[in-house]
């Protein structure tokens, strides 16, 4: 723990995907995945996973962008859920412009203050968290798949099926 805090003090500062943070971006026609890996002080400002980490912060967010994309339902979900890395020269939205994530995964070491949807809290040590939230009014199919140790292997499919 002392090591993690020392790392935090020696590292940099980042707010969401801005600052000293490694950022990976993936997308398909239905959503974005933003992967963040920071050492130092990392502030997350969204309501779902808000908080401050001093130490190591590794996070993956799944954002829906087009829930009404053409599709037939669950049968095609796996094929169409593949995410592709976004080219570095492509104009992209910052994480703060993407709204609230539908799902997220995080792994943190050090000191963590959290203020997200799960409530406020303080952790000293290590914490892993994964969460998916689907609104009560949503009627459709959602596929979310991610492995923290396999960057780029993310899958995301969201299709609203209206009667």
């Amino acid at each position: 723990m002392v090591f993690c805090v020392a790392m935090g003090m020696c590292g940099g500062c980042a707010v969401n995907d801005v600052g000293l943070v490694r950022v990976g971006r993936y997308e398909n026609e239905m959503g974005h995945v933003v992967e963040l890996d920071a050492v130092g002080i990392h502030l997350i400002t969204n309501r779902s996973d808000g908080g401050l980490t001093i130490g190591r912060s590794h996070r993956v967010y799944f954002f829906a962008k087009n829930v009404e994309a053409a599709g037939a339902g669950i049968g095609e979900a796996v094929d169409r859920s593949v995410m592709k890395a976004v080219a570095k020269d492509k104009a992209i939205k910052r994480m703060g412009e993407l709204g609230e994530p539908m799902a997220w995964m995080s792994r943190s070491e050090g000191v963590m203050f959290r203020t997200g949807s799960g409530g406020v809290g303080l952790t000293v040590g290590a914490r892993t968290h994964a969460e998916m939230r689907i609104a009560e009014k949503f009627e459709g199919v959602v596929v979310v798949y991610g492995e923290m140790d396999r960057p780029g292997g993310y899958r995301f499919y969201v299709k609203e099926i209206k009667p």
Binding site: G75, S81, G119, R127, T128, A130, E136, G140, V141, Y145
Partner: protein, 122 residues
């Protein structure tokens, strides 16, 4: 069916609390964790290791015919955790009317889950 061990098949027609979302959560802490529990008016304190994995299904808060009833959800989930670092979080979830159709077509859901969880989407 042993290979499906660790996979949670959810066909829920049950009530949750006052939540407005279907929520799937995995959380693990190693160290010290302090957080308030507003529903009980107490504090939760963890020293050491604590892990929880759960789902919440809300009741409908609007509508004349189904207000108060639990939301329809059909899905297959896999949360695989090795230590504190290696976390796999996977879900195939249908809600509302599509959940009813998916529940009736068990082979379709099984096929999707097999391809996603067992074959890496291939």
């Amino acid at each position: 069916m042993k290979k499906w061990k660790g996979m949670m098949v959810v066909v829920l027609m049950m009530g949750g609390c006052q939540a407005t979302h279907v929520v799937y959560v995995h959380d693990a802490v190693l160290g010290i964790d302090v957080s308030p529990v507003p529903s009980q008016g107490t504090m939760k304190f963890v020293l050491g290791y604590d892990r929880e994995t759960f789902a919440l299904v809300p009741r409908h808060t609007e509508g004349e015919t189904n207000k108060g009833e639990a939301m329809s959800v059909t899905g297959v989930s896999r949360v695989k955790v090795t230590g504190m670092h290696d976390v796999t979080f996977g879900h195939v979830i249908a809600t509302g009317k599509p959940a009813v159709g998916v529940a009736k077509d068990g082979s379709g859901l099984k096929d999707v889950a097999e391809r996603l969880f067992e074959k890496g989407g291939k």
